[in-house]
């Protein structure tokens, strides 16, 4: 296997690979479409063959041979252990507490890992109307843990969300319990620049890792608040040749017909 740092990879690839490493064998993962789905399938093919992929379309244990374009591609139903209705997937499987990790993206995140995927600007006359909540609020609420994956910039990592679609840590420690949210919330934010984790005491996101070649100043620069950097800041292991090979062959199948 080549030494990782000698390989070339895109920022999207490093995000996907790093996110996939957090998914361990035997976990149940509630998968959104796009990068989370790619990361989950990479994990399944690379190091977690028994990772259970649950899509909100009702497919439980999907093992797609090609990357789906939507969360409801036929490929997911055909390869799933079980296909259930949408009421069941949300009520029994997610709210019922059977999901280990939910992966979410968003348009904006704040320092307490709350997420906005609804509007940029005011709700009543938005500058950008985004798709909206989908399954995110309950994935954020009821999964045992949450991983957020999104590109980092001052526009997306903001001091104050334009709209709170999904709760990370609310207004701070104790808020999740007060709100009746049963999962422990975001444990990790994966960006194109590095990794952020909540401080165990304040819940504030702290930069714990930078990706190879990225400086902490660059990350602070791309953050809309005064980002804390961990004392023992580390560098993420770059994608390996094996990870990139699987990822690229997966990407090549995206949305392809059977």
């Amino acid at each position: 296997m080549s030494v990782a740092s000698e390989l070339e990879f895109t920022t999207s690839e490093v995000m996907t690979v790093v996110a996939s490493r957090e998914l361990r064998d035997g976990m149940t993962c509630f998968v959104g479409i796009g990068l989370p789905s790619t990361a989950a399938n990479l994990a399944r093919l690379h190091h977690a063959p028994r990772l259970v992929l649950v899509y909100e379309s009702g497919t439980i244990g999907a093992k797609p041979r090609r990357l789906p374009l939507s969360i409801g591609d036929g490929e997911l139903a055909e390869t799933a252990d079980a296909v259930v209705g949408v009421p069941e997937i949300f009520n029994y499987w997610l709210q019922g507490g059977h999901i280990d990790v939910g992966m979410l993206g968003a348009a904006q995140i704040d320092r307490l890992a709350n997420l906005n995927s609804t509007v940029i600007g005011s709700y009543d006359s938005p500058r950008v109307r985004l798709p909206g909540a989908g399954g995110a609020p309950e994935i954020a609420g009821s999964s045992r843990s949450v991983i957020v994956v999104m590109r980092q910039s001052r526009r997306s990592f903001v001091e104050r969300l334009d709209f709170v679609t999904s709760v990370g840590f609310g207004e701070g420690p104790g808020d999740r319990a007060r709100l009746g949210l049963r999962g422990r919330g975001p444990v990790l934010v994966v960006t194109d620049l590095g990794l952020l984790r909540p401080d165990p005491e304040t819940c504030e996101l702290v930069l714990t890792h930078v990706h190879p070649g990225v400086s902490p100043e660059q990350v602070r620069e791309a953050t809309g608040w005064d980002l804390r950097v961990a004392d023992d800041l580390e560098t993420t292991a770059a994608p390996t040749a094996a990870e990139l090979k699987i990822l690229r062959s997966l990407e090549a199948t995206k949305g392809a017909d059977g």
């Binding site: 479409i33 796009g34 909100e56 379309s57 009702g58 497919t59 789906p68 374009l69 939507s70 969360i71 409801g72 591609d73 036929g74 997911l76 139903a77 055909e78 296909v83 209705g85 949408v86 009421p87 949300f90 009520n91 997610l94 709210q95 709350n114 609804t118 709700y123 006359s125 938005p126 500058r127 950008v128 109307r129 985004l130 798709p131 909206g132 909540a133 989908g134 399954g135 995110a136 609020p137 309950e138 609420g141 009821s142 709209f163 709170v164 679609t165 999904s166 709760v167 609310g170 808020d175 709100l179 009746g180 949210l181 049963r182 949305g255 392809a256 017909d257 059977g258």
Partner: protein, 272 residues
């Protein structure tokens, strides 16, 4: 027993101006043919309910059929924005669009309550989000046993539900398999229902993963082969992913959108 009608006739009979119309189908079995017929018949002032407003909703909105959208995720799955939806929300074109916005779990449970003959449903949701503050559509209830506070959403009972399925028999019994979304709940919650199907067969042979809606619980069935295209009908045809990507371009500008609708929906005979 469901009446078996022509699509135009069924829409004329069941869908009226001002109705609340649920169009369901979660990525799979989206009722495009029926939606196009609603557009051709120029229905106005509709409240459209749909978990995932996507291309069919974009088309209905852009053609001015929709006054209010009840939804939880409005996008072009895997591609990006719905441009006609955004244009209506951001610029009021062709008409202002009122929004009644939920999470998937919230809107799903509104249908479940509607199908269950209950006035509301209880779920763990909305707490701490701005969604709870948008409308009178979310309230709080207290568990009489534990004192816990939970979210309540009101039942959704559409005037009419429209869904697409693979097939029906002559009595209007409907068989549907693959990803089934909230179609059963939408049909059972609605006052009237229209199911379009790929075909009517003599007998519904049992199939793995299939659910059956008895004909007596459905108002009308209409045959519409390819009626879910460009989404898919498991066992009949695949999703046309290229179409979804192409729609991003077609729908970006009002003019190209209108030209496309004119050519492909309003005057379908012109394109064979």
């Amino acid at each position: 027993m469901a009446e078996i009608l022509g699509l135009a006739e069924a829409v004329a009979e069941l869908v009226h101006d001002g109705d609340c119309v649920a169009l369901e189908g979660f990525t799979h079995l989206i009722p495009f043919a029926a939606g196009h017929e609603v557009i051709r018949q120029a229905r106005r002032d509709l409240t459209v309910a749909r978990l995932t407003p996507d291309l069919i909703s974009d088309q209905l909105i852009g053609m001015g059929c929709v006054a209010r959208l009840v939804f939880s995720w409005g996008g072009n799955p895997g591609v990006g924005s719905l441009h006609r939806f955004r244009d209506a929300v951001e610029h009021g074109w062709p008409a202002p669009l009122a929004l009644e916005e939920h999470s998937h779990a919230g809107l799903t449970n509104r249908y479940v309550a509607g199908a269950s003959g209950l006035p509301f449903a209880v779920l763990r949701a909305y707490a701490g989000t701005d969604l709870a503050r948008l409308s009178g559509q979310v309230a709080e209830v207290t568990c009489p046993f534990t004192g816990e506070r939970l979210a309540a959403v009101p039942a959704l009972n559409p005037d009419v539900a429209i869904v697409h399925a693979q097939r029906a028999d002559g009595e209007g019994n409907v068989q549907l398999w693959g990803i089934s979304g909230v179609q059963k709940e939408a049909v059972l919650a609605a006052r009237r229902s229209l199911v379009t199907v790929e075909e009517v067969v003599d007998e519904l042979t049992p199939r793995p993963g299939a659910l059956v809606l008895p004909g007596w619980a459905v108002t009308a069935v209409a045959v519409a082969p390819g009626g879910a295209y460009p989404s898919y009908a498991a066992g009949y045809y695949d999703r046309d992913n290229a179409f979804y990507q192409e729609w991003d371009l077609v729908s970006k500008a009002r003019e190209t959108f209108l030209a496309w609708m004119r050519e492909h929906v309003l005057e379908p005979s012109a394109v064979a």
